[in-house]
Every structure is written in C-alpha cells, then in structure tokens.
C-alpha cells in the first residue's frame, strides 16, 4: 500500500452537493475511471451528499484514494449528525422513500458502487461509506 491521498469537504448546503459532485468527478478522472464508472460514482456521491444535507442536517464528505493489488479506487465517506435512520431494513428496500426522491436513494446508490457500508443510529447520525475500483 502506498501513502493514501485523503481529503474532506463540507456538506452544508445545496451548493456543497454540487461541489461534492465536481470533486468526485475530478478524483475519478485522475484515477482514470471509465466515463460510465465516473458517472456512477458521481451520481452515487450526489445521492449521498443530498441525504446528508437534506435529512442529516449537514455533514461532511471524506474522500480517500485507495491502492492495492495493482488496482486503484476511490473511497467516499458521508457522515452527518442528523436523526439517523430508524428502520434501516425498510430504507434499504427498493422503492422506499421518505419523500423527496424517487425512492431509489440507498438501494439504487448501492448498485452504483463496488462497496457499500452504512452505519446509522437514531439520534446519532448516519455514516455511509462507498468505494469503487478501477
């Protein structure tokens, strides 16, 4: 493993969602992701960034460039200190939405990435970590 490159961006406003998308686009371009893979990662980031802003009351996006086994990847971690998700099983059901999206949020996002992990606790916020490899 070589030294990992990391960074963090705030997610406080709708404008931050746009900036997060642009940051992820730049990172995936640097990693030479295919255009489809870039688009998937940017779209996944957009969904999760919006969740953090709209439902989580704001938070952060941490990013980290991964390398290992001759491959490189991008890991993103979205953290908020919001109300948390009371029923995670329900939230991970296809077609479920609490209102503002099209019901594709978490399950749809999971399909766009290679790794997906969610840690949520009522009253303590939500952390979603995703990764996609070249």
């Amino acid at each position: 493993m070589s030294a990992n490159i990391k960074g963090e961006a705030p997610l406080r406003s709708e404008h931050d969602i746009v900036l997060a998308r642009q940051q992820v686009r730049r990172l995936t371009q640097e990693l030479k992701f295919s255009l489809v893979d870039q688009t998937k990662m940017v779209t996944a980031a957009s969904e999760l960034a919006r969740n953090a802003v709209v439902y989580g009351g704001g938070g952060t996006m941490e990013w980290e460039i991964l390398s290992g086994d001759g491959r490189r990847g991008l890991k993103l971690r979205f953290a908020d200190e919001g109300p948390g998700i009371p029923n995670l099983d329900l939230a991970m059901t296809d077609g479920w939405t609490s209102g503002k999206g099209l019901g594709m949020g978490l399950t749809g996002t999971k399909r766009l990435v290679n790794e997906f992990d969610i840690d949520t606790k009522v009253g303590a916020g939500t952390r979603v970590t995703i990764a996609r490899w070249t």
């Binding site: 709708e14 404008h15 969602i17 746009v18 998308r21 642009q22 686009r25 255009l35 489809v36 870039q38 688009t39 998937k40 940017v42 779209t43 957009s46 969904e47 919006r50 296809d94 077609g95 503002k100 999206g101 099209l102 594709m104 949020g105 399950t107 749809g108 996002t109 399909r111 766009l112």
Partner: protein
C-alpha cells in the same frame, strides 16, 4: 421554434435551480401557449434521482398545461447510470437529439389533433 419551447440545461444545477427551472418553464408554457417542450440535456454529465424527478415532474406539469415534453440528448453513460440507479423516468418521452425530438413532438401533437376532431 414557434409553438415549441427548447430548454437547454448547460450547468450542473443545484436543487433550487432545478425547481426554479420547473417554475419558469411552467410559466413559459402558459405565456406562449406552447404545445411542446424539448429539454436538451446533452451537456449534463449526471442525472441523479432529484434531477430525474424534476424532469418527470416538468413532463407531467407540461401535460396538464397542454404541452408534450420530450427529453433529448441524454449521454449514454448517464442512461446506463440511471437504469442501474433504478430510475426509469415513467411517463417521460425521450429522443436521441433535438432533431428527432422535434419529429416526435410534431407526431404526438398531430396525433392529439386527430383525437380531438374525432370526438
């Protein structure tokens, strides 16, 4: 464009901007008595569930106001991602580009005209 409106989305829109577009476009349909709307997203590099819902809403609002809406120019990578995300854009008509969108729009409006005359 005559009775048609052409909207080209050229920036990475934040959510309020998308909602404002919905508002402005609805008003423009009424003001111009438009029969059809083409939304060109050929420069959009990403469509997430919010923008997808906004486009579907515009299409439905347009329909209620008497205008057919066609989404044109979606990039292949965006289409692939949308399908994987699970977004099939129900009720939204699409075409490959503006030219084909115009043809489709014309055909839809002509078909509507025949329907009306038969009643």
């Amino acid at each position: 464009m005559g009775e048609f409106l052409l909207v080209t989305i050229q920036v990475d829109m934040h959510d309020q901007m998308a909602l404002k577009l919905q508002d402005d476009l609805s008003n423009a349909i009424v003001r111009n008595a438009s029969r059809g709307v083409l939304i060109d997203i050929s420069t959009l590099e990403m469509v997430d569930s919010f923008i997808g819902r906004m486009v579907a809403d515009i299409s439905n609002i347009g329909k209620i106001l008497g205008a057919e809406t066609i989404l044109v120019g979606m990039q292949p990578a965006v289409a692939i991602t949308l399908v994987e995300l699970g977004l099939s854009l129900p009720g939204v008509a699409t075409a490959l580009n503006v030219e084909r969108g115009m043809v489709l729009l014309r055909r839809k409006i002509d078909a509507d005209g025949i329907d009306v005359s038969q009643h």
